[in-house]
Amino acid sequence: MSDIPSDLKYVASHEWIRDEGDGVVTIGITDHAQDLLGDVVFIELPEAGAEFATGDDLGVVESVKAASDVYAPLSGEIIAINGDLEDAPELVNSDPYGDGWFVQLRLSDTTELDDLLDADGYAELCEAES
């Protein structure tokens, strides 16, 4: 059973969202997602300042096995990216909710936060997929 922290929000495409307040969120991929991908060897992230709408391709995670898209779970502007992932992509496997975070987004519409799954909802979704 994968780790699904109760203080985070989720989307069906296996990204997690931490509400940092003031319309800023931190985004990464879930423990379940990193487990499915296997050993991550490369991550392509957008540049700070780039703008995304919900569902846009935000980046790509490559494992030894395959490439997988990462989607923007919310609309907004990138205000920070995790530069550590360039030299240490394995952080996504070892600490998906901590040092393996991907980007921070300034939301263009904070009401979108209401559409996200909570931990129970995400756990049910993972269960249904397996």
């Binding site: 296997g38 060897v41 490369f42 030894v64 096995k65 360039e86």
Partner: protein
């Protein structure tokens, strides 16, 4: 979709937590809980056990078996010594590669191992073309496993001391814990190791004995693929196919001297004229090469290769991150003018040109035990 086959080790894979995927008509473990990268590194540092029972094992019997098989491959089979194995290729009338295979002179018969995906085709091809007096028996009552890595000999010889006496490409009948097995000192990882053909009914029991050795972990198809790619070994259906000749595929080394145009048994295999013409006149337009990415993004099979002007010059046929070399590596085909070491080419990935360097293969040093 037709029902998938299972190898005699299917239950063991499940018990060990193997993640099963369809592969060449079989349900095979792509990885175990260790994961592809650690399985790969474990094999390079210690020893890994691979289930390759999906491959086709065939026995050819008859006084003319070697001479008849020679008519289908550009390889010296007649003079293959007893107890020796050799890499071979089935060619078609256009000189294209139908499959790659291993042939062993087992004394009373030839032992042939073909790829799982080509098994039915290869058996039909042999049955149709091997002349009278050659009997073909499919050994589908046997499992085949590979024990690979620098500690494979230490692990296997603890159970079966006789395997210590073998060198690379030696084959012999041995008894392992009371079971008659056919063992060759070879494999497809670039490491020292063995392939062991075991009666199906005893396969699980012997494999439990192998994995009980402290050096040994079970390894899935994922790591098998990255190991063979680092070792510069082709995967049929990806790096080689019916439209690719051994020359284009950079496998000229696999054509035995005595079967070449100036050899004592020159030609006499399908497509010989085309292949000899390519050797003599270099009139082919593409060639298989190794590639190392200059950046960190893996370059996958199917990626288009371009020159600096954005003109298509070829395609990647295998590509992955190489866990031992620590960089993304690939094999592919380029127009011959680009098939020069150190040439910079570009892979088109998600709309971007990523620079790669044409590199020699294998990407790692092969560590076969040659005595």
């Amino acid at each position: 979709m037709s029902e998938l086959n299972r190898t005699p080790l299917y239950n063991l894979h499940l018990e060990l937590g193997g993640k099963m995927v369809p592969f060449a008509g079989f349900e095979m473990p792509v990885q175990y809980p260790l994961g592809v990268k650690k399985e790969h590194i474990h094999t390079r540092e210690h020893a890994g056990l691979f289930d390759v029972s999906h491959m086709g094992q065939v026995k050819l019997t008859g006084a003319n078996a070697a001479a008849e098989l020679e008519k289908l491959v550009p390889v010296d089979i007649i003079d293959l010594p007893v107890g020796k194995q050799r890499y071979a290729l089935f060619t078609n009338d256009d000189g294209g590669i139908m499959d790659d295979l291993m042939v062993t002179n087992a004394g009373d018969y030839l032992y042939v191992v073909v790829n799982a995906a080509c098994k039915a085709q290869d058996i039909a091809h042999m049955q149709a073309n091997l002349g009278e007096g050659v009997e073909l028996e499919v050994l589908d009552d046997r499992a085949l496993v590979a024990l690979q890595g620098p500690e494979a000999a230490q692990a296997l010889s603890r159970i079966c001391p006789a395997v210590n006496e073998m060198v690379f490409m030696d084959s012999r009948q041995v008894t392992i814990d009371g079971v008659e097995c056919f063992v060759s000192r070879s494999g497809y990882t670039g490491e020292d190791g063995y392939e062991i053909s075991i009666p199906a009914a005893e396969a699980e029991r012997l494999c439990r004995l192998f994995i009980a050795q402290p050096e040994v972990e079970c390894i899935g198809l994922g790591a098998r693929d990255s190991l063979r790619l680092e070792s510069g070994l082709c995967l049929y259906g990806h790096d080689l196919d019916q439209t690719t000749t051994p020359i284009e595929g950079s496998l000229i080394w696999a054509i035995s001297k005595c079967r070449r145009a100036d050899g004592e048994r020159a030609g006499g295999f399908p497509g010989a004229d085309k292949i000899f013409d390519q050797i003599a006149n270099k009139n082919y337009s593409r060639k298989r090469i190794g590639l190392i990415a200059q950046g960190k993004a893996p370059i996958r099979e199917g990626a288009e290769l371009q020159n600096a002007d954005g003109v298509k010059i070829g395609e990647v046929t295998s590509g992955s991150f190489g866990p031992t070399v620590g960089v993304p590596i690939a094999m592919g085909y380029v127009a011959t003018e680009y098939a020069v070491l150190e040439t910079e080419v570009y892979a088109l990935v998600r709309g971007k040109q990523l620079p790669m360097t044409v590199a020699k293969t294998p990407f790692i040093e092969q560590r076969y035990f040659r005595g």
